[in-house]
Symmetry: C2
Subunit: 215 residues, 2 copies
DNA sequence: GTCTATATAATGATAGAC
DNA sequence: GTCTATCATTATATAGAC
């Protein structure tokens, strides 16, 4: 990802092409012929180097996870935050990886679970640190809150096209939609949505009712 | 959906089987042979009645949208709220439809846009009503806030498997995970996540900076 | 390591009998 | 309306030459 595709060895060119096409079109809609074509090699060479299409995806997944972990969570925490915009300007190659991860989450590929858990891990650290510093309120159920926040963030990324369309743009990464998205989200997490805790108490009551009635 | 599959006419059985299999496996992973098998007919009959696999999906989409609109938003607003649990107990057939919609959103089918917009429409009404009644705080950017809330809700549904796993269960619809999910979400939307507005002001400042610097 | 040529399997869709 | 038999296409993966 740090050099021109033409400078890479065939094996790396194939992996890079697979990363790009899997991310754009999804795993099942991408053919080995397309990958070979983009990498400038013959289809059988793809199989020769990686064994099968599935093993090729696994190789891409492994490569990406190694990249993500080496970044020490920089990309994972910032993936849907405002700073993502500036990060992507500085690291344009991260676009491909983000697109790959979003597509992989949609297709529920083998990397989806690793990514979800890894983002949870990183988010939990952010929450903990903020709680210590007093900038973040301590949740009643920290693990659940982290999981919900991650599901919200990744989910919004997966629905980025629809979200951007409602915000007057094409991609969530464009300046306009990203600004409206980030500000609306920050406002929600700063002031909340409800004016008092009646909804929360109502939800608690509803679950306590059904919880004792169902058994 | 209101009778046993065996009582339906072949055409309806095919549509029902397609709804079930498309929802479970996705459109592209479902074969006409599978649909025909589940409906108890021969594969060519599927084509004979619906023209093609894509037209069959369109027929299922149309059928579902008609169902959703006839429900006057009951299912759409409640799809990820606590009351979904009780709703599903009363209307078990809604499970198939929810699963279909979630899969369709993941695959970005033609119905995805309609559903996203329809849920936005319904959510906007809920927000407006709450604002009038004083139970919901008036957002600075109502349209964006609605879109974000919908993306969060639908996104969490799409990632329901991962979310449930982190919450100690298999499905988000199970009592345990649903309870923890609903309470964590309600707490977020009641008290927010941050203890003050420094993150919000920081985000505003960051966008104002990049907004004037980039050009 | 890399290619051309090909095997094999599965799919959506068609033809035509009943 | 419904079936059996089949076509045409496309995909992954293999065989073997260079």
């Amino acid at each position: 990802m740090s050099s021109d595709p033409g400078d890479l060895l065939p094996q790396a060119r194939i992996r890079r092409a697979a990363l790009e096409l899997f991310g754009e079109q999804g795993f099942h809609h991408t053919t080995i012929r397309q990958i070979a074509g983009l990498a400038g090699v013959s289809p059988p060479l793809v199989i020769h180097h990686f064994g099968s299409k599935h093993q090729l995806r696994q190789a891409v997944d492994d490569w990406i996870m190694a990249f993500l972990l080496s970044e020490k969570g920089t990309l994972l925490t910032g993936s849907v935050m405002p700073r993502a915009s500036s990060y992507l300007t500085e690291h344009p190659e991260a676009r491909l990886i983000m697109q790959y991860l979003i597509t992989a989450m949609r297709e529920d590929g083998t990397i989806a679970r690793q990514v979800f858990d890894q983002v949870c891990h990183t988010t939990a650290q952010v929450i903990e640190l903020g709680a210590e510093q007093g900038t973040i309120r301590e949740p009643a159920d920290p693990d659940a809150t982290v999981a919900v926040l991650v599901a919200y963030s990744l989910g919004a990324s997966m629905l980025g096209g629809h979200l951007a369309r409602r915000l007057g743009g094409e991609s969530l990464l464009d300046a306009g939609p990203m600004r409206r998205y980030a500000l609306a989200a920050m406002e929600l997490f700063t002031y909340g949505l409800f004016t008092d805790d009646s909804y929360l108490r109502g939800t608690r009551a509803a679950f306590d009712d059904t919880g004792s009635e169902d058994d």
